[in-house]
């Protein structure tokens, strides 16, 4: 039962500011994902919550009580590290039981809880092994078991899946989701992978340059991006973003290409369209026409890419569509699926 709040938190490393005036309220039992490219300050933010880094300014509080000065060992959080951080000289069981040992839990009870935690992540057969005798996926599960062997106030996970191969990652992701739902503990999860963010989070905070650009449910973030950064970061492929110049007399161009759209205002704006909202159509109903740059089969659908100016624009098409590079196509998009952003600031125009 813990809420975490960050108020106007700054963090400098030397003269470099990595977190800027960051304020964030994490509700009890929420699964909050900090999402952003590498170097955006998301891991530093998490490490400040853990107590591994001290904020340069601002307040971090658990349940309204300031914890800035509380060292990590007394914050009662647990953390899964990107590199797992297993103790090399301890067996799997000892690794999992270490937090309990430090808390003076009697051996018999410790043993039982180690077994329970190991069972939750299917590690029982490996309890006697040493970390070096385990595969990457098993090590990751040991780190997970160690963090759930006690009930901490907050779970912290720092890119726990990034060292796993793609297939294992899907499995481990499902496991983490299942576990956190079952345990009902406030969780902060750091990732640069927007799919992990979309699938796991109750809320996503998209970060860039030490600042939260947008915070909301995965749905909000996807359907209602606040700026071009968020729009371009979320989605696979990312949202198409085209700089558009409108002269105010009904002509509108992206580079040299005339577009049949009506921007909310004259001047330079950025038009965002998700690839799945673009569809092939006849010339008369088209928003624009272009030449196919590449055409890819994805199995359940196809993806065609066109070069507009110096930008690639991706459009998803039906799985039976077949096109050749260089073919002329016309594309349209329903007007209510268009996103407009300010040409200067990148902020959404609403």
């Amino acid at each position: 039962m813990t809420t975490v709040s960050l108020t106007s938190v700054d963090k400098y490393f030397g003269s470099v500011q990595v977190v800027r005036e960051l304020s964030l309220e994490i509700a009890d039992r929420e699964f909050l994902v900090l999402l952003g490219p590498s170097g955006c300050g998301k891991t530093t933010t998490m490490r400040m919550i853990a107590g591994l880094e001290a904020p340069s300014a601002g307040t971090i509080a658990f349940d309204g009580v300031r914890v800035n000065e509380v060292p990590p060992q007394r914050r009662d959080v647990s953390m899964v590290f990107q590199n797992y951080g297993l103790y090399p000289h301890m067996s799997v069981a000892e690794n999992i039981g270490y937090p309990l040992k430090l808390r003076g839990v009697p051996a018999a009870e410790r043993d039982q809880r180690i077994r329970q935690a190991a069972a939750r992540v299917q590690l029982e057969p490996f309890l006697a092994r040493m970390p070096r005798e385990l595969s990457g996926g098993q090590r990751q599960r040991v780190a997970l078991a160690r963090s759930i062997v006690r009930t901490p106030r907050v779970f912290l996970m720092d890119e726990p899946l990034s060292n796993l191969d793609a297939k294992l990652r899907v499995l481990a992701r499902a496991q983490i989701k299942h576990l956190t739902q079952e345990l009902q503990v406030t969780t902060v999860y750091v990732t640069h992978d927007q799919i992990e963010a979309m699938t796991l989070a109750t809320r996503v905070a998209v970060m860039n340059d030490g600042v939260i650009r947008q915070i909301g449910t995965p749905e909000d973030i996807y359907n209602d991006p606040a700026d071009t950064f968020v729009a371009g970061f979320i989605g696979s492929p990312a949202m198409n973003l085209l700089p558009v110049v409108a002269d105010g007399q009904g002509t509108c161009r992206a580079g040299d290409l005339p577009l049949r759209v009506s921007p909310p205002r004259a001047g330079t704006t950025v038009l965002g369209i998700r690839s799945e909202d673009l569809e092939l159509c006849s010339e008369s109903e088209a928003m624009f026409g272009c030449e196919v740059y590449t055409f890819e089969l994805l199995g359940d659908s196809t993806l065609l890419t066109a070069m507009i100016g110096d930008r690639l624009v991706a459009a998803r098409a039906g799985k039976s569509v077949r096109l050749q590079a260089g073919a002329r196509v016309w594309l349209r998009c329903s007007p209510d699926r268009l996103y407009w952003f300010d040409g200067e600031t990148g902020l959404r125009l609403r």
């Binding site: 297993l86 090590r139 160690r146």
Partner: protein
Amino acid sequence: MSRPQSVSNPIQGRAATTLRRGPGEGMQPARSPAPGYRPPLAERVALALRQSLILAGLASIVLPIVWMAITAFKLPRDVYSLDAALVFTPTLDNFRTVFAHPWNLGNKIANSILVAAGTVVVAVPMATLAAYAFSRFDFRFRQTIFLLVIASQFIPAAVVVLPYFLMFRDLGLLDTRTALVLINLSIVLPYAVWMIKGFIDAVPIEIEESAMIDGAGRFRVLAGIVVPAALPGIITAAVFSFTLTWNEFLFALILGKQDALTLPLGIVGFRTERGDLWELMAAGGLIITAPMFMLSLMVHRQFIGSLTAGSVR
């Protein structure tokens, strides 16, 4: 093994030599050599030359030890005799003599063990704490202080021998094992700090952070996580410190008189007015060398390979 032994052996031998040649050259002979293939003359000469150089180097190290080991079991009359260079009647008399009056090597062994063990027992924990601080804490002049610690070893011992003598005389510590422990600490600590720091540097910081989050304080992290993970290095440093102290001669010579004499000084005692008693020196030398030799063998066997494997990634 369908291939006859007599054929496969020369092939393997040749394959091993061709592997060392430049890329491209060794392709065909390594795979299926023509019968009777011989490498070119220049290559055979180069190989022979290289092997004899290695042998010469090896001999210069091993022969004195072998000579010592043999001489230790010879009677005095056999030591200088060429006839008895390798064939002689072995005896344990020398070992009996060195432990008896007036040589009393037993006392010196005890002194050496006490001084070396005392030095290690103090040096290793101190060095571990210092190394941890140098490795993990960010403080002013960290680099400078560390360099100074290392640089203290560049001062020739002969320069500080006299000040040390005066100092220990004033402290009333001349001819005591305490003085030798203190002196040896000053020699051993910088090396130990430097060695252990290297191993602590290699311990991933994540496991320390993990332990802190799991609830361990700084000291607990050090004792329960860092020391076990850096244990191979710490043990290496301990053995190294022990050996250094065990073999230390100059300070033991200056500070010792009769009560605190160590083994190396015992050996020097065998140079008498009656001449050098080689057979006793050899026996004493064997007594000095054997424990170190066994210690390093044991350590080598036990701690090869990194204990940190598998902790991260």
